[in-house]
Symmetry: C2
Subunit: 405 residues, 2 copies
C-alpha cells in the first residue's frame, strides 16, 4: 500500500465529464489498495476568466484582492471533485488552503510555501477519506489568501507529498509525459522515461511548461518522486527522480526552446566597475527578471556593450527604465530585439562528457544558424538565435545528439 | 457620522460596470462623512451556474461540498468590489466568512448565524478601511463552509449591523422598496414608507421576495433599522423598523400572494388523538415544510379529513411518504392539488380593528372567488384559492382595503 498524491491540472477537471473521470481514477487507485490525496487546479479557463474580470475593474489590481479573486476557481473544482467521489461511494472532503494551514509568505501572486498542515490531512486519511485539496492557493500569516503563481498547483502537490512523506506525487496533465523536445516541432520526439530533478529544473525554466519550476525545486529538496502522466489514459508517463549513474550515459536528455524573451543591448557604456550593477538594480526594483547577460570586454578599455534578455512582456518597461540610466552613463544607444528565441540542450551527462558545446555550435553553424548569445551551466547550454530559426535549430540539435532514435 | 452597513444583491454587482457603481456609492457615502461596511452577494447568475454544476455531478449532492461550492461566488464579488474601491482611492479589504469568524451552526444550506467576529471588522474600520464582506456564507465549529440559504446575504448584512451596532442596514436591490402588492399585478401598488418587523416577517414568508425572513427576525431581535432601496438610483426606499402607534392607523399594509404551495388532503382518517401527529411526523422527518393545516371536526365523530399545504416541489415526495401512513390509519384516499395559491392581507392595524376577515371574505365572495382554506394570525389573514383567481383576488383586496389611493 502506497500513499499517492494525485494532482490534476485545469484541463483534467475542465468539464463535469472529466471531473467524473478524475473521480473514477481516484477510486481505481483506492481499489488497488492505495491511499490517495488529490490536489486540483481550477477548471480550465476559469482562472483566465477571473483575471479578465480583475483587469476590467482595475488594470493594475492590488495584489491582496487579486489573489483572493483568482484563488476562488479552486474552491469550485475541489468541491466538484469531492462531490463526484462521494457520489461514487468514496468518502472525500474538500480542503481550502486555510483549512489545512497551507502557510505561505506574503508575496502575492507568487507566494512561497512555508509550511503545510500535514496533521489535518493525515487525520482525514485515517478516517478513510480522500482529501481533495485546492492547489495554487495559500494563506499568509495575516490570514489573507495568497497564490503560488501559474502552475502553482504542481507545487501544492509536491509540497503535500513532501509533508505527508508520500511515495509519489503524480502530476496529471493533458500530455503524457516529458519529451525530448516539442513533438509539434520534431515528430521523432520521444517520451523521456526518467529525468533528474536538475535536468527538469533546466527544462522547466527553459520553457517546457509541464511542471512549475518551484515544484521541481521542492521535489529535489525533499526527495519527492514526481510522475508526470496523462489524465486521459493509463499509460506510464515520465518520472522526475534523483540523479543516478545510468542517467549520465545520455549526454543530452532534451532540447528546449523559449520564444518569450526579448533582447536589450545598451551600446557604448563605460567599461568600468559598477556600471552593470546600476543597470540591473533598476530592473530588479521593477521586478523584471533578467535571464541571460553578456558584457563584452572592450577593445580599447573605455567603452563596451551590455546585452541581456528579459521577458517580451517587460521589454517596453525595461527600455523606459533604462533610458535615464543609459543617458547618465553616457551610453550611446539602446537597442531592443523581440525576434529572438533561446534554444537549449540539457543533460546531466554533460558533466562527464566534453565537447558538447563545440558540437552544438558546429551543428548550428552547419545549418546556417547564427548564434547571438551563449549561456552555459554544468548541465545545459543555451544559445540565443533569430526567432525564425527556432524550429530548424531544435530539429538539427535533436538529431545531432541522438534523440531521434 | 453614522455607521452604515450596505448590502448589495446579485443584480447590483452583476457586471463590472455595476460593481463600479457600487464602489461609487460607497465612496459617496464615505465622503458624506459616514463609515461603511459592505456586504455583497455573488454576481447575478453565478450561484445558479454553480448549483447547476453541482447537480450535473450529483443530483443529490452532499451538503458540505455543495455549500463549499456555492459559497465561492461571493469570493469573486467581494474581491472585485474591494478592487474597485481601492482603484477609486477608498482603502478596502475583502473578508470571507472564516476571516471574520462568521460562525454558524452546521445545518448546511440554511445555517443559522451564531456569532459574528465584530472585532476584526472594527479594527479594519478603525484603520480607515471599508470591509467588503462575503454574504451568504459562514463557517461551522469544524471550520467547514456553510451557507445561509437563498437571500442569506440579507441576513449577513443585518447580523453585521447588529454586531457592529450600526445605525442602519441598507439593503440594495433591483426594486426601489417594498410595495403594497406586486406592481406587476396591480398598477396602483404603492411603495410603503415604513413597515414594522412583524408585518415584514409576514410579507417575507408570504412570498414577497425582497428580504430573507431570517434577516427580518434578526433585525427585530436586535433592533436593526433596515432600509430597502434601489442600487440604481438615489431615491428613498422602504424602512423596516420597530412598530409605533402611527402604524396601527393603517389596517392593511399590504396584500401578498404565493403560488409555490400545493394542497394535500387525506380523506377519511379516524377522528381520534394522535392521527395528525403521525401524519406530520413523517413529513417533518423528511424536512418538508408544512404551512397551513386544517382538520374539520367530523360530523359523526368517527372520520375526518386532514388538509395541509406543502411546497409544490415537495408534493410528490409528501404523497409518497403519506401513502403507507394513510393506509395504516385506514384513510380512504389522498388527494393533491397543485393549482392553488395563497393570498394574504397583512397589517399591524388588525390588532385594533375588527371585521377585517369578514370584509376580506365578502370582497372575495363578491368577486366570485371560492375560499378553500383559511389561516389567520394576529396581523394577517391568508386564504387558499384556485390559482387561476390569484391576480383577481389580489386586485380586489388591494382596492377594498384602500391601498390603491
Amino acid at each position: 500500500m502506497a500513499l499517492i498524491v494525485q494532482k490534476y491540472g485545469g484541463t483534467s477537471v475542465g468539464t463535469v465529464e472529466r471531473i467524473k473521470n478524475v473521480a473514477q481514477r481516484v477510486k481505481r487507485t483506492r481499489e488497488a489498495g492505495h491511499e490517495v490525496v488529490v490536489v486540483v487546479s481550477a477548471m480550465a479557463g476559469e482562472t483566465n476568466r477571473l483575471v479578465k474580470l480583475a483587469y476590467e475593474v482595475d488594470p493594475d489590481p492590488i495584489s491582496r484582492e487579486y489573489d483572493a479573486l483568482i484563488a476562488s476557481g479552486e474552491q469550485v473544482s475541489t468541491a466538484l471533485v469531492a462531490l463526484a467521489l462521494n457520489k461514487m461511494g468514496v468518502p472525500a472532503r474538500s480542503f481550502l488552503a486555510h483549512q489545512i494551514e497551507m502557510r505561505t509568505d506574503a508575496t502575492r501572486s507568487k507566494a512561497r510555501i512555508e509550511s503545510v498542515g500535514g496533521p489535518i490531512l493525515r487525520a482525514a486519511i485515517e478516517r478513510g477519506e480522500v482529501p481533495v485539496v485546492a492547489g495554487f492557493q495559500g494563506v499568509d500569516a495575516e490570514g489573507s489568501i495568497t497564490t503560488l503563481g501559474r502552475g502553482g498547483s504542481d507545487t501544492t502537490g509536491v509540497a503535500l507529498a513532501a509533508a505527508l512523506n508520500a511515495d509519489v506525487c503524480e502530476i496529471y496533465t493533458d500530455v503524457d509525459g516529458i519529451y525530448t523536445t516539442d513533438p509539434n516541432i520534431v515528430r521523432a520526439a520521444r517520451k523521456i522515461e526518467r529525468v533528474s530533478y536538475e535536468e527538469m529544473l533546466e527544462l522547466a525554466s527553459l520553457g517546457a511548461k509541464v511542471l512549475q519550476t518551484r515544484s521541481v525545486e521542492f521535489g529535489m529538496k525533499y526527495g519527492v518522486r514526481i510522475h508526470v502522466r496523462s489524465s486521459f489514459d493509463e499509460s506510464e508517463g515520465s518520472w522526475v527522480v534523483p540523479e543516478d549513474e545510468t542517467m549520465e550515459q545520455v549526454v543530452v536528455r532534451a532540447v528546449a526552446y523559449d520564444k518569450n524573451d526579448a533582447r536589450i543591448s545598451v551600446l557604448g557604456v563605460p567599461d568600468q566597475p559598477g556600471v552593470a550593477a546600476k543597470v540591473f538594480a533598476v530592473l530588479s526594483e521593477a521586478e523584471i527578471v533578467v535571464d541571460m547577460i553578456i558584457q563584452n570586454s572592450s577593445q580599447d578599455g573605455t567603452k563596451t556593450d551590455l546585452t541581456f534578455t528579459v521577458p517580451k512582456a517587460d521589454v517596453l518597461t525595461a527600455r523606459r527604465l533604462m533610458e535615464p540610466v543609459a543617458a547618465a552613463l553616457g551610453a550611446a544607444t539602446i537597442k531592443t530585439d523581440n525576434q529572438i528565441s533561446k534554444v537549449s540542450v540539457v543533460g546531466v551527462g554533460m558533466r562527464s562528457h566534453s565537447g558538447v558545446a563545440a558540437k552544438m555550435f558546429g551543428v548550428l553553424s552547419q545549418a546556417g544558424v547564427n548564434i547571438q548569445m551563449i549561456a552555459t551551466s554544468e548541465i545545459k547550454i543555451s544559445v540565443v538565435i533569430d526567432e525564425a530559426y527556432t524550429e530548424l535549430a531544435v530539429r538539427v540539435l535533436h538529431q545531432a545528439f541522438g534523440l531521434d532514435t
